[in-house]
Amino acid sequence: MEAPPKRSRAGRIRSWFSSRFSRLPNGPAPQSEVQSTNRRARGWFSSRLSDRSKGGHHRTFRGVPDFFRLAVESLNEYALITMDKDRVISSWSGPAAKMFGYTEAEIIGQNITLLFTPEDIAKGIDKQEFVEALKKGRQDDERWHVCKDGRRLWCYGLSFPLKDDNDEVRGFVKLIRDDTVRKKKDEMLRDSEERLRLAGDSTGLGTWDYDVSKKTMTVSKRAAELFNLGNDPKSVAFDRFLEAIHPEDRPIVGEKINRCLAPDVPYDDDMEFRVAMPAGGVRWVLAKARAFVDDPDRKKGQADRLIGTVFDVTERRRKKLEAEEVKEELETKVKDRTSRLTEVNKELETFAYSASHDLRAPLRKIAAFSDAVIKSAGGKLNTEEQSYLDTIRQAAAKMQSLIDDQLKLARVTRKPLAQDDCDLSKIAREAAEELRKGDPERKVEFVIADGVVTRGDRELLAIALGNLFANAWKFTGKHPTARIEFGETRSGDAPAYFVRDDGAGFDMEFAHKLFGTFQRLHSEEEFPGTGVGLGLVERIIRRHHGRAWAEGGVEKGATFFFTLNTEA
C-alpha cells in the first residue's frame, strides 16, 4: 500500500525522532557523533525490522540509546509496540509488558493478533486496522484487547506505518493506552446520568453543569425549560443563563455562585430565585449546587465546576405565601379580638369595681338612716314596724357583703401576679388557726401535711387556701366533730393539692356549679354565704394556670383539689 504523497503522521513522528536526536543536549559531543547516534536510532528500527524479516535474533530497547529508551519507557500509560509488515511484533516497551502481562521474550516474534479478541479477529479487525493505517497514514481506534491472563482491557490505540528513508513501508508502530478504568467511570457516569435523567423526567427535576473556565452551562432538557433557555439548547453561555434570571435576583444568584466556587467554603448551597418569563410574570425555581475541584492545586481550592439541580417551586411558593397570608390574617384577627376582649374585660372589671364601690354609699345610708329612724322613734315603734326596719338593715348588710365579695373578686383579678416561694403547709396552718380562734368551742381536727411548698402569688394562694378551709369549716358545722385535712397528691405528672372534709358534702351532679361565682348548692338558711368563696378560689387557681375541681357525695364530705401551672 502506497503512503499518501503528502507528509504523513508517521513521517512527522519519524522526523520528530530525527530532530530530537539531532538536538541532543550535552553539546560537547561532536556533530558527527550525534549524527551517528541519529543514524543508529533509525538504524535500530531498520535493523530491527530487517533482523526480524531475516528471522534474526531479537534485539530489545537495551540496544537503543538511553535517551530514546528513557523517552519511550517514561510513557507509562502508553504501550509502544513495533511490528514488521506482517504485524509480527519486533519490539515491546516496558509499559506494554506491564499492561498485557507478556514479557519481551514471550511476545517478540508473535503476531499482534495475539492481543485481539476472538470477536475482532473473526471480523478481521486485527488486519483491517493496519490496512487503514497504511491508507490514511494513521488509524485511531478504541477496542478491547486481551491480556496474557485472558483479562480484557479497553484500549485507545494509534497505529501508523513505519517507513524507511526511501518511503518504503517497513512495518507499523502501535501506541496503546489502557482506558478500562476511564471507560468504567464513563459507563458509571452514563448510568448515573441516565438515572438522573429518569429521576428528573419523573419529578420535573432539571440538572445543570457549569464549567467555570469555559463559562458555559450544560443543561438538561428540563433545566433548559425551567431556566427559560429556549428549546433544549444543551449548552449555553453562562451570561445567557444569568440573563434569564429576574434582574432583581441576578446579583444574589451571581454572589451565591461565587460563594459556592470560593475556596474553603462548604461546596453545597441552594437558592430560590425568579426566572423572568417572556410573557411577563416569573417562575420561582429552587436550584441546588455542588462545587467540584478538578485540580485542587491549580487555584488553591477555587472550584472549576458547579453541578446542580433545579426545580420549579412557583406553585409551592404560592401556596406557602397563601398559607402565610391566611395565617397572618388569622393571627391579626385573633390579636384584634384578644385585645378587644381584654379591653372589654378591663372595662367590665372597672365597671364592676366602680359600680360596687358606688353602691356602697347608698347602702350605707339605707342602713344608717334605718338606724336613725329606730333611734329617733325612741321605742315608740310597734313590733311590726321595728321588724320591717330590721329587715331593711339586714338586707342592706347582706348586699354590702355581696358587694364586698365582688370587690374582692375584682381585686383578685386585677392584682399583678407575684412569683413567691410559698409554704402551703404554713398557710394552711394559719388558716386553720384563724378558724379555730373564731369558734374555739368546735371540735375540729386539722390534719395538715408538712413541707408542701410551691411557687406562686403568696397573698392570692393564702386567699384561696383560706377560702377552702373556711368552706370546709362551714360545711362540717352541723356535725358534732369534724376532720379537715390538707395535703399533696398527684394529678397526672403534676402535684395536686387538696383540702378534704367529712362534712355535708354535695351531689356530684352539681359539681360543675361549685366554682361558679355566686353559685350556691345549699340554701342560705342551711349554710349562710354569698357563694363567692369557691369562685375566688377558682379565679386564683386559673390565674396560676392551674385547675380546681371537687369530689364528694351528699353527707359524705368533700375534697377540693387544685393544681398550679398545669394548664396552658
Binding site: A361, K365, F369, A372, Q400
Partner: protein, 133 residues
Amino acid sequence: MNENLLFVEDDAEDVQLTLMGFGLQKFEPQVVVAKDGKEALELLLAACAAASPLPAAILTDIKMPRMDGLELLRQIKSDLRLREIPVAILTSSDHEADRNEALRLGAALYLMKPSSLDAYAGIVPRLRELMRA
C-alpha cells in the same frame, strides 16, 4: 377650748348622719360646713385675712368636686398659718393608696364612714381628743 369644727363634705345626707351621730354623744361643736376643698380653703384663707379664729380641727371627705380632700390637706399643710390645724379624714374609700397618701400628707386620723349611728357616735371621742390637742 375652741369648739369650731370645719366639716368638708359634698353629700348633705352624710353631713346629716354625722351630726346625728355627734348628737348621740352630746358633741355639739360650732360646725361650719364647706361643700368641697376649694370652698374650705377659701373660708380658711378669709379667716386668716380677717384675723378671725381658725377651727380647732378639720373633718374632710376625700372624693369631692373641684378640690378633693387630699389636695385640701396638701394645701393646709403647706401653709404656715394653717398647718397646725389637725385634719381628720372621713371617707368611704378603703383604698390603701388613699389611706397611705393621707397619712403621708399629715392627716391626724383616717376614718371610714360607718353604716350605723352608733358607729358615727363612736368617732366622737377621737375627734374631741383631736380638738383638745
